[in-house]
Symmetry: C2
Subunit: 463 residues, 2 copies
């Protein structure tokens, strides 16, 4: 009986890949970079050593590390570990099976290390979103040529298993849309602005003091970080790398406290969203602040939380929410990749078994259509609305609603003449307004003498 079974099992193993035959020897790790995340990974591997052994059948063992400063106290014990001043030396160490790259940056040591490791046949786990977003095509080719996996769960949305969800959990379906709230710093700032009525610069300063924003915050607040993550998600969702420089990016510096108030009056909230979808014109991919209906699931995601949404033909809409940054969540994601490697589960970079597909370019945002929120600061006198709506009419833009707000108290109580008081005027366009027509109209409206400040234009999305 048993021998017959064994025979049929062996035959089946070849046909269906039943259980994987994976080594039970320790998986020996070389960790490059011992910043917050690197130290977190070492701590997790230590604290959960037994758990990981139970779940993978193997010991996940750090054998070597590399960082700049040997003497710094990182709250972890590195005695007994091989120390390399040069991260690239980790690749040559024959005791290291897997390279964990936590240095960061799209170029320099991080990139060289990952390339060298793949060429040496050593699987790589990284949290480096810029690297994958910018060089995901070349790295996929290396990974395929050398048949070595490069995993990067931690590169998108921290502790949320977003990459596994898209590349495996939803692998049976054709995805129509992917995206979400991909930057916790921006989401925190926008949330605080909405809840307290404070201006952007005040809230940014506070976020920096709290450690929620970097000293140089531009990567976050100008949308670059979210764009890296969206580029990766879109590549996975549509099975093909996306050219990073074709993704349209707008940050949140121009959003004012009053935009949150007006959005709320209109039934919306303002969020920085990364969104990619397939359209007749090709791939749309952009990171933009937008008004979303306040009852939409993404509108409920506040503070430093991230959320990823995906929509598929069969599965409908899925949303995952969780902590998008921090040592703990990121360490969880990095180690989940190590668990996959230990279990013998390795994926091709973009989740396809064909030749590595060439990068696709997102189509220019000017080719799109959307609904727009437009806030103008205008002189409070007759004829102003006529001037503005005439421009919109000339560009064929229909309005869905218009809100005129009374002049602010300070202005009213001032001694200035009637003609020089300013009021905010908020317009919302029809949802199929051409982006290029809108941009041209807004430029023309901004140049009108009665419009005093730069117009603020925010797209409206129903994610």
């Amino acid at each position: 009986m048993v021998s017959l079974h064994l025979l049929s099992l062996l035959i089946n193993l070849l046909k269906v890949g039943a259980y994987n035959i994976v080594s039970s020897s320790p998986l020996r790790l070389g960790i490059a970079g011992l910043g917050t995340v690197g130290a977190g990974v070492v701590r997790l591997l230590c604290e959960h050593a037994d758990l990981l052994k139970t779940r993978t059948g193997r010991l996940l063992q750090v054998v070597a590390v590399s960082a700049r400063d040997r003497t710094r106290d990182r709250g972890i014990d590195v005695t007994g570990l091989q120390w390399y001043d040069n991260a690239l030396d980790l690749v040559q160490d024959s005791n290291v099976d897997v390279i964990v790259e936590l240095i960061g940056g799209a170029e320099g040591v991080a990139r060289t290390l990952v390339e060298k490791a793949l060429k040496a046949g050593k699987p790589v786990v990284t949290a480096n979103k810029a690297l994958i977003a910018l060089h995901g095509y070349e790295l996929a080719m290396l990974s395929a040529d050398y048949q070595v996996p490069l995993l990067f769960e931690a590169a998108v949305a921290g502790g949320i298993p977003a990459i596994k969800t898209v590349r495996e959990g939803l692998a049976a379906d054709r995805l129509l849309r992917i995206g979400g709230i991909l930057n916790g710093t921006c989401n925190h700032i926008l949330t605080v602005m909405r809840k307290t009525g404070q201006e952007f610069s005040t809230v940014l300063k506070e976020a920096q003091d709290l450690g929620y924003a970097e000293a140089d915050p531009s990567t976050d607040i100008d949308g670059l970080d979210a764009a890296h993550k969206l580029t990766i998600l879109a590549g996975l969702a549509f099975g093909r790398p996306v050219a990073f420089d074709s993704v349209y990016v707008e940050g949140i510096r121009h959003i004012a406290a009053q935009d949150h108030i007006f959005a709320q009056h209109l039934g919306y909230r303002i969020k920085l969203l990364g969104l990619a979808r397939k359209t007749q014109n090709g791939l749309q991919a952009h990171v933009i602040p937008c008004l979303i209906p306040q009852y939409a699931p993404l509108a409920q995601v506040d503070g430093v939380f991230n959320a990823v949404i995906a929509e598929g033909e069969f599965v409908g809409r899925i949303m995952i929410e969780g902590r998008g940054a921090g040592a703990g969540p990121t360490a969880s994601a990095v180690t989940a990749d190590l668990v996959d490697i230990a279990r013998g589960h390795a994926m091709t970079l973009w989740g396809v078994q064909s030749e590595v597909p060439e990068p696709v370019r997102a189509c220019p945002i000017s080719t799109g259509e959307a609904a727009f929120y437009l806030r103008l600061q205008v002189e409070d006198r007759p004829g102003v609305i006529a001037d503005i709506t005439a421009v919109l009419r000339d560009y064929g833009i229909s309005l869905q609603s218009m809100l005129q707000y009374p002049a602010e108290k300070e202005t009213l109580s001032s001694a200035e003449s009637y003609a020089s008081s300013y009021v905010p005027l908020v317009l919302m366009t029809h949802h199929l307004t051409s982006e290029s027509a809108m941009q041209a109209a807004v430029a023309q409206i901004g140049a009108l003498r009665v419009v005093t400040d730069t117009p603020v234009m925010i797209r409206i999305e129903t994610p």
Copy 2:
């Protein structure tokens, strides 16, 4: 150069299981059960055939099916497929590599089919939650003995990749809690009750007419279906099967329209939750209607949507939301399992590589502590509150708040005497109230002459 690389790659392959060596021949499927889900799977496999080939490198091909009625029109083309009247015959068919069990039920043909398939070395994919919840220990032993995977992503929360998230995405972390909104029928009914103020029986009837509830709705509304799913999730989260009969289950029949109103006044919403957590006393696992704070992420999940939450030491709280039922989402989940098999990714049933752990029993709910909402219908006369609070005091139960509502209009306008008018009295206890003390106190309060109806006790959770 290349030969050196190849050598190192081969060595590495043995050590780290780099890319899997999986066949590129078609994966031939035998599908048992062609109801809504079975037909959905056949349709998805047909419509997404190219996509699935690209993602797995293999053709996912239905070669044989089994269902009761050959003549029924299911909207799918079954010509050219081998038809079996007896599902068990699929196992003997040497053309079938993988069995897809979509018959349902914890016993009978479904169970026999799965057991036979595993013994014959054929991987099984199933959507059968009752089967896994009730026999997950025995099936895990079979799967381990014969080294054949049994996958069941579709058994929990439909299209949401909940099982992959817990068993793989969060595999690096120690989970503290798992659960969520696991039954779309109950969530739909509770949502409509809250939004319309209608009573349970009215909404159930409407849901049945709309096809959101079965003709015999007890599996859903009495919590059994959610309990199956919770049993599976808890087993995966804690790496050990949970004895199904130890999971405490309460349904939603006793929730009245006014409970939703009172909950809202108190800042809560009522949801049927399945929750499992590790405590000092052991495993807590229950399916209960509960009040949750209205700002909690789970409180936002309305209608037929399901949501799974998990909390880990490092990762913090993760929530996934999506469609928990229906042909499309379920077909997506079933096929995602087939993609995993085609890619050579197979998991042990409970996600551990040790010997199959024996089932653990959840501790009796009476050993727990919670905050409680208690609604009483009482006579509207002096001394009633004193009588009731005296009982609570005797059991050492502290109140956090008490709401006394004026008598209903009909009652007030009636000609009855003052003494015979009834009013609702709502009490909320301190959050560390002993369950056993509360149950005893409620029994005694229910027996008071001044309390007219059966008291309604709902636990309060902060998920």
